[in-house]
Amino acid sequence: MIRLRIPIWSRLTRVQRILLGVVALIVALFVLTVGLGGNRADVNLAEPPAFVERLGSLFGGPPAVEPADVGGDCIAPDPSPSASPAAGPSPSVEPSPSAGPSPAAGGQAPDGRRRVVLGTCVLTVAGRDVDVRELRLTAAGPVRVEAPVPRSDETATKELAAGDELKVSVDSGGASITLVCMAANICAVNVG
């Protein structure tokens, strides 16, 4: 009968034998972890898992885009600059050439947010040294929003129904956000 003799083993103390057992356990757990192939469950990203939510609340959400950073050629003069003195230059929208002038263009709602979109409007958000900011848009009518995906060359579009709210994420480079009325030439969007 062949007797297996491990010369080191006989010279090891109890603690050292336990340590070798721990190594074997680590290797076994590693093989098991890798061998199982990982979690393949689907995730609903509209409702991320609790640990992501907790991390998010720990870090705090992205700051809102400063009203002063929102602009572009489409900005109409603010009809009542005193209406929201704290807001600074107000976000506005550009009437499309075909839509014609409207007294409501660039108008401001009592809450200081409302702007009227005529046909197509391009909002520009100036760049800032902030990784991610959010611009809140609330549609009063059906609107399609086209915005660049932050930190990417891609553009994404989202269609909003009346009453829908959308937070457009903007990276440090700023963004040009296109708003297009879907059902009529005139529609309203609250900005900021």
Binding site: P7, I8, R11, L12, T13, Q16, L19, L20, V22, V23, I26, V27, L29, F30, T33, V34, L36, G37, G38, N39, R40, A41, D42, V43, N44, L45, A46, P48, P49, V52, E53, L55, G56, F59, G61, P62, D131, V132, E134, A147, V149, P150, R151, S152, D153, E154, T155, A156, T157, K158, E159, L166, K167, V168, S169, D171
Partner: protein, 262 residues
């Protein structure tokens, strides 16, 4: 006492070096582009259209590279042992203490910087993921398709090299296994490998990048703790060396004084 078996020791050194090289080079081993259609379904689920289709590059992750912060310590330790074979005993102790002091400071500072980098990236990932839907799309494009299989292959290779390292080290000198510090270092390295593999496997693939960043943060903290341990050891070593030098100088002075008197 058994002699050091140099071939096995050199193999251990080579394995330790390879481990660090594989981890640092993981950036070139994993990742790659995915077909543009990969994003279409996910974007549709979010109620967003991405007309361009989405050019997705798989992320290389941080944790594999950050493993090098931990595994560079065994490499340094066996490197010092190797150098100790070449240097005379009188110089060896002082040189080792000074080298350890410098290396531990570099390790601590590097780990702190990389800890901050990983933390900032984690904040950015979570912020984008929760900024539904445009930020979520951005997260999906940049970090949503972690190459878990490729990372597991690299981790398995690294684990194999670590076992080779441990085995050849013991084969080189069985008394190494009685060195608690060295055993703890090897165990830490193995546990770090297991931790990264476990965190990569724990969540669905879309969220792996977030846990990868968390693993990187943990690895940087482990490296800082080991760096502090090395730093304290080096300081005690230098103090002991200075005391020994001072006492030997004092002994020489006393002998000279006695000789002059007699």
């Amino acid at each position: 006492m058994e002699r050091l078996r140099t071939p096995f020791f050199l193999m251990a050194m080579a394995a330790a070096g390879l481990i660090v090289l594989v981890e640092i080079g993981a950036t070139w081993l994993i990742g790659g582009a995915l077909p543009a259609t990969e994003l279409t379904g996910a974007a549709g689920d979010l109620g967003v259209a991405v007309p361009g289709g989405g050019a997705i590059e798989q992320p290389t992750g941080l944790a594999l590279k950050y493993l090098a912060l931990v595994d560079v310590i065994p490499l340094f330790v066996v490197g010092l042992m190797g150098v100790g074979l070449l240097l005379p005993d009188r110089i060896e102790g002082r040189a080792q203490s000074i080298a350890t002091l410098v290396a531990s400071i570099v390790l601590i500072l590097t780990s702190i910087v990389l800890l901050i980098v990983a933390f900032v990236l984690l904040i950015l990932m979570v912020t984008l993921l929760l900024a539904f839907p445009f930020g979520t799309i951005a997260y999906l494009i940049i970090w949503g398709h972690f190459p878990r299989g490729q990372a597991a292959a690299v981790l398995a290779l690294v684990m194999f090299l670590k076992l080779v390292f441990a085995g050849t080290l013991v084969a080189a000198q069985p008394r190494f296994i009685q060195n608690k510090g060295l055993v703890l270092l090897v165990l830490t390295s193995l546990v770090a490998n297991l931790l990264v593999a476990f965190l990569h496997a724990l969540v669905p693939i879309v969220l792996v990048s977030i846990l990868d960043a968390i693993a990187a943060i943990v690895l940087a903290i482990i490296a800082i703790v080991w760096g502090i341990v090395l730093l304290v050891g080096a300081i005690f070593g230098i103090i002991a060396a200075v005391r020994a030098t001072a006492s030997s100088a004092l002994d020489v002075d006393l002998v000279n004084a006695v000789q002059r008197v007699t």
